[in-house]
């Protein structure tokens, strides 16, 4: 008898989900956020449809404030894998000069990320979008379905979710309605790292410790990734050995001091650490039920 390991089971489940969407939906797309979860999701997609390429494009909603390393990595991956990459920027937000330093994280995220995402989905008429969210990330995610049904206005209604039994997913919808699908629902942060290690999946170098210019602001280490970051009086970038546990807009992403420059070292550090990965995300601190509220409004 062959015993499947937990990673083999998780992988099989994710591949099943990816294939189900492609079989049942007309225009799927994969939200590619360039982070480690996206890296795993993309890797699973390459497996699910092999020897064919994944029959859908990648979509990156670019807030224009991502780390430069992320953008370079994004373009390199799409090219190497031979996949179509769509990049969408909320032009209206850009014209209004929306940014994290000038408008704060809440407005910036809403306009450049949430609104930008809705614009992109409407523009291309996608009826299903894969996202790399995991249920272990946050409380309201724990209750979200794998196939998350959204109204024509992209709203998530926790009371109208469809029951999901066995591996039976209901992908049916009326015109204008859409699905957000989360193939990594049952993965944890540890699973993700173990899988990246085992499968040798490329990830953005920012996850590995290196000397980088940072300033400490409100107790968080922010990397000075370009000259758009206004320095407050007395602030001076200093070089420290840091890395990132999650990646997003650089002004909103806290670095941690670390010497971990290899995958085993990262995993070791994570296993010994005492704070959760979302702590580095400024977005969660806005209000207690902030994620739940954002989701209802159409955030991934």
């Amino acid at each position: 008898m062959t015993r499947l390991t937990h990673l083999q089971r998780l992988e099989a489940e994710s591949i099943h989900i990816l294939r189900e969407v492609v079989a049942e939906c007309e225009r799927p797309v994969m939200l590619y956020s360039i982070g480690k979860d996206s890296a795993v999701m993309l890797h699973l997609a390459m497996k699910a449809f092999y020897p064919a390429k994944p029959p859908f494009p990648l979509l990156h909603v670019d807030t224009t404030w991502k780390f430069r390393d992320m953008i370079a990595f994004r373009d390199k991956m799409a090219q190497e894998l031979g996949l179509q990459l769509l990049v969408h920027i909320n032009q209206d937000g850009l014209d209004r000069g929306i940014g994290p330093f000038t408008h704060g994280s809440a407005v910036h995220t809403d306009v450049m990320k949430t609104q930008g995402l809705k614009q992109a989905l409407d523009k291309y008429g996608f009826d299903a979008a894969f996202g790399g969210a995991r249920r272990d990330e946050e409380k309201s995610r724990a209750k979200e379905r794998v196939f998350s049904f959204r109204s024509a206005q992209h709203r998530w209604d926790p009371k109208r979710q469809r029951p999901e039994l066995w591996s039976q997913y209901n992908a049916r919808k009326n015109k204008g309605e859409s699905l957000r699908v989360f193939p990594l629902s049952n993965w944890t942060e540890l699973d993700i790292w173990q899988y990246i290690y085992l499968e040798n999946i490329p990830i953005v170098p920012l996850y590995f410790a290196a000397m980088r210019p940072v300033v400490r602001r409100d107790g968080t280490l922010i990397m000075v990734d370009d000259d758009r970051m206004p320095l407050k009086p007395g602030e001076r970038p200093e070089m420290r050995s840091v890395r990132f546990r999650t990646l997003g807009c650089y002004p909103l992403t806290g670095a941690i001091e670390s010497e971990a420059a290899t995958l085993p070292a990262i995993i070791q550090e994570m296993l010994l650490t005492t704070s959760s990965e979302r702590q580095g995300r400024v977005i969660d601190h806005d209000s207690a039920a902030s994620m739940e509220k954002k989701k209802q409004e159409g955030y991934f």
Partner: protein, 641 residues
């Protein structure tokens, strides 16, 4: 996230190596908040060190603010999810939790225990290998314990932990523990639950959670965690015959045709002989293709792509099976149905049924009985309401390959989807095929529909008049029939009121009866069309689903939906039978347009707006449509038929 192993700090490589062989266990916890369920899960997360310090400090703050433990850590707060729930202090849906130890990764389905949430428990149980049933030691085996256990057994979970919690509140009494265990075992044997492991616990104090408690020296069994880490989930799915529901056909180019899916049971090796169902064609496995290279064999649970040695026509929804022991193929079944939607299950209404990767249309008969989940009594029922479980016959519009649910959850479990809203409205477990489909052969008669219609110089069809009471359906239908008759056509009118005096006099006006009313009329119309007649049906027929059912019974082009569109105010003003007045006075219940909905057709073949034209003009309109559709061509043109 301090996992306990010393290897993490000393030899991370060795640690990672050992973790590559961890297995996965899914379990469900059943019980109510009062039983300490959230506390139990919260503690498992806490003790397995899956709680980070920032989460812990939030927990400490919350415990002081809204906790129920007098300022001490309230583990329940860790798992109460949505904001609304936190305020109400209840769990309202299925939540999935994750933790892992050095031996296993665990996925916990956390479902509420209240009666109205049978739906959620069935959902959570459907993927679980083990059920943890919580009992409050002070209260013993309750009605809800029986209910949870019944669902666990129905959904086919083979391993049960009887977690007798709050032992600290009964002085860790062995006698109380033994009494509860004896009572539970007696009940469990009645419903076929066999592998039961009782554990005396205090989730709050941590007794027998991870480590053996000194307070229960009389207990020799495993702690909860010891059990969860070691229970053998006998992977008997691998020993069952091979089944691969085909999810997707992979055709990147002319030279490659792969069949992708997740293996539902069994083992497949290169060179094995397979049979594709429902076609029955056989072939051999040429390759088992994966991104990491071809496999020699694959087992239940793996997602793979197969290629075959022959060109066999297989598409999504088919099942590739071991040639020597293929699944049965049938279109009529007995099944247990769990209803999951606020809108009741209506016998006869067509639903989409998704079984494996196949989606077909099917309908359900009235339940043979429903089960009282508290007493397990069988009760008579005409329909199934939200959270009700019943045994019904299921009839599909095409034959599918299947296994009984007790043999295989993936090829014997299905979901029911509403055709209009697309909601998942129920779940079903196939018991066995009814042999009716194979035994009753439709007699292929030489004198067929075309021959009968040809003799009358016409083409058979149904004109289905739908609209509010008083819209003018019968008036217009009558005019149309007169005109057809004068042209020498053979017709018959089925009128709502008249049919209710005879064939349907046993039916009332509830939603369920309305569906049955239409189903019978649709079937009668079908026979009349087969007899070569032009049938005029004049029925309010308020529901889209039933009109669609009637349409789907006929051949394409035979069904013409006539929407007699009269605004409610106008129909009520006419009120030819005085029914609206009665309904407004509350003397008539379930009256369409007043306290029962009318779902207007979306794409009727003929749309008559009676406010804009006379009944005569409307009838003429219909005659023109019939002429245009070639339904009224002269008799001599038909001589060749």
């Amino acid at each position: 996230m301090a996992h306990k192993s010393d290897l993490i700090a000393t030899d991370i490589q060795a640690y990672l190596k050992s973790h590559e062989h961890k297995s996965l266990l899914r379990f469900i916890t059943c019980g109510s908040v009062d039983d300490g369920k959230s506390t139990l899960i919260g503690r498992l997360l806490y003790e397995s060190k899956m709680i980070f310090e920032d989460q812990l400090s939030t927990l400490e703050a919350d415990s002081k603010k809204v906790g129920t433990q007098g300022g001490e850590l309230d583990f329940a707060l860790l798992v109460d999810g949505l904001a609304a729930e936190r305020e109400q202090g209840i769990t309202i849906d299925v939540a999935y939790r994750f933790f892992s130890t050095d031996r296993r990764k665990f996925i916990v389905a956390d479902t509420p225990g209240h009666e109205q949430y049978t739906r959620n428990m069935v959902t959570g149980a459907s993927t679980a290998d083990v059920a943890v049933i919580l009992i409050d030691a002070r209260k013993g085996v309750l009605t809800q314990t029986r209910r949870h256990s019944y669902i666990v057994s129905l959904i086919g979970i083979k391993h049960v932990v009887l977690a007798i919690n709050k032992m600290d509140l009964v002085g860790y009494s062995q006698q109380i523990f033994d009494t509860i265990v004896t009572e539970y075992r007696e009940f469990a044997s009645q419903i076929g639950l066999e592998n039961i492991v009782p554990v005396p616990l205090s989730a709050l104090r941590g007794d027998n959670m991870l480590e053996r408690s000194s307070a229960t020296p009389w207990y020799q069994g495993p702690t909860l965690m010891e059990y969860l880490e070691s229970v053998e989930i006998e992977d008997d799915l691998q020993h069952r015959p091979f089944r691969l529901p085909v999810q997707w056909v992979n055709r990147p180019n002319q030279d490659f045709r792969g069949f992708a899916g997740t293996i539902a049971s069994g083992v497949i090796r290169k060179g094995d002989t397979i049979r594709a169902l429902p076609s029955g064609r056989t072939s051999k496995v040429a390759r088992i293709v994966t991104h990491n290279g071809d496999l020699e064999q694959a087992v239940a649970g793996q997602s793979i792509t197969l290629t075959l040695t022959d060109e066999v026509d297989i598409s999504r929804g088919d099942v590739i099976a071991a040639a020597a022991s293929p699944p049965a193929v049938a279109d009529q079944f007995q099944a247990t149905i769990i209803w999951m939607h606020e809108e009741a299950m209506l016998p006869g209404r067509p639903y989409l049924i998704k079984l494996g990767s196949r989606t077909v249309t099917g309908s359900i008969t009235a339940p043979k009985y429903k089960v009282n989940v508290n007493t397990l009594e069988h009760l008579a029922a005409k329909q199934l309401e939200l959270n009700e479980i019943g045994v019904c016959n299921l009839s599909l519009d095409r034959a599918v390959a299947f296994d009984p649910y007790t043999d295989n959850r993936e090829t014997g479990g299905f979901i029911l989807i509403d055709k209009i809203s697309n909601d998942t409205v129920g779940a079903g477990l196939l018991s066995f095929a009814l042999r009716r489909a194979e035994n009753i052969h439709w007699q292929a008669l030489d004198v067929n529909k075309h021959a009968r219609a040809g003799l009358k110089g016409q083409r058979a069809c149904v004109l289905w008049f739908t609209g509010l009471s008083g819209a003018g359906k019968s008036t217009i239908a009558n005019l149309v029939e007169k005109r057809l008759h004068s042209l020498g056509r053979h017709t018959y009118t089925l009128d709502g009121d008249n049919v209710r005096h005879g064939l349907n006099k046993d039916l009332g006006f509830t939603d369920a009866d309305r569906v049955e009313n239409i189903r019978r009329v649709a079937e009668v119309s079908k026979l009349m069309v087969d007899a070569g007649l032009i049938v005029l049906v004049s029925f309010i027929s308020p529901f889209r689903s039933e009109r669609r059912l009637a349409r789907e019974l006929m051949q394409p082009g035979e069904f013409l939906e006539v929407f007699v569109d009269t605004p409610l105010e106008e129909a009520e003003k006419r009120d030819p039978k005085g029914l609206y007045k009665k309904a407004r006075r509350g003397e008539l219940q379930n009256f369409t347009g007043i306290d029962s909905p009318y779902e207007a057709p979306e794409k009727p073949e003929i749309h008559l707006r009676t406010a804009l034209s006379s009944p005569e003009a409307a009838a003429e309109d219909i005659m023109n449509k019939l002429r245009d559709a070639g339904m009224l061509y002269p008799a001599d043109e038909l001589s060749g038929l």
